[in-house]
Amino acid sequence: MDTDFAVVELTVNGIGHRVGVEPRRLLVDVLREDLGLTGTNVGCGQGVCGSCTVLVDGASARSCLMLAVQAHGADVVTVEGMATAAGVHPVQQAFLDAQAQQCGFCTPGFLATTVELLDRNAKPSEAEIRAALAGNTCRCTGYQHIVDAVVRASEAAS
């Protein structure tokens, strides 16, 4: 049966949620508006800039190109879920150390993309890093510091 109202059960940053949504609502809007997790930013809203990138079941996804109903049963990690009691995530630390953010708007998306990259490839080459990050846009720093940060993160993990 089709429906104009759906209950979505999903885990966000380790916490289970049950939210009622219209099917047309986007995952990013549910994260930001219903769950109050405003660390995930909406840049272009059409899947081009990458700032809304989050991890869905460990794989990066544009949360502006995903309906909340498509995340039913999923395990979502946003920037708010990266740090632990021990401190910020090693990738976040590398971004801090390399001064890889300026205004910070794009940073949560870059972090999610980087976490996935290093999960799949612990020692990426610079070309692989640039290819992986090509779908994320930064309008402040230029990309060199961001690439440096990913290299630092990969070295810190080894």
């Binding site: 049966m1 089709d2 429906t3 104009d4 759906a6 219209e22 099917p23 047309r24 609502r25 986007l26 809007d29 809203g45 059409q46 899947g47 990458g50 990138t53 869905v56 794989a59 990066s60 996804a61 544009r62 502006c64 190109l65 995903m66 309906l67 109903v69 498509q70 039913h72 993309t113 996935e116 990259l117 640039r130 290819a131 992986a132 090509a134 779908g135 994320n136």
Partner: protein, 289 residues
Amino acid sequence: MKPAPFRYQRTTTVDETVAALAGGRARVLAGGQSLVAELCARTTSAEVLVDIAGVTELDHVAVDADVVRIGALRRIAALEDDAELAAALPALVECAGRIAHPAVRNRGTIGGNVAHADPASAVPPVLLAHDGEVVLTGPGGARVLAADAFFTGLRTTACGPDELVTELRFRRPGPRGGAAFHEVSRRARGWGLAGACAVVELDEGGRIAELRIGLLGLAPTAVRAERAEGAAVGRAPEAEAIAALAADAVADLDDIPGDVHASPALRRSLGRVAVRRALAEAVRRAEGS
């Protein structure tokens, strides 16, 4: 902007999906990497979205001696990482790695790429060049359509409103065959302005026995370069001949898209380059195989 309201249904089998599509008022949601963006931009709408992400029977890859069958729901990222597929269909795996960016490839599906039939979609020319077939399942059961008959125009295909793309079939290059994909973008990666997939079969003397070329970005939908394919037969695949065939491949195109990214003339020129590089690489692989 946000999508206009629609109703939503999740399905878990092909039969259930076909039943949900009956009447033609519903649309299929797979990865949603094009459809959700268009719904948000309100350049398209849907009365009902049928979400097929749970139809696991459509998430398969079967590599046989002559043909590779891929379920419509196979994610692009899964194609990229498939070593067996890379050996059987190197051009498809090359094209998969060039579709958008990792986050999009994680969710986008091969069936969606083909069914969406954007002129810049990367899988359609690969399917055409591999003498491909599209399996469509509707109320009357499944039918198999040649890829040549599937792409009918700008974002238009032979898939009926009550049908679902369920499988894609690619003919593998033969024992003296080779295939390659090449695309030109404004940056090293990103939306393709023009591109080509070439599949070549050589005869025992090393001459071209058969050539198939699929083009992207050079017509309202993916097309074959039939004049160049015909002119290639019997020729030795040397650099000069490859350059001439590449020029042939784009010479007849009379409806090349033009936009702010590239004029029709630039796309024609880039298309020639893409064909030349794809064909040269396909020949190199055929000679090495």
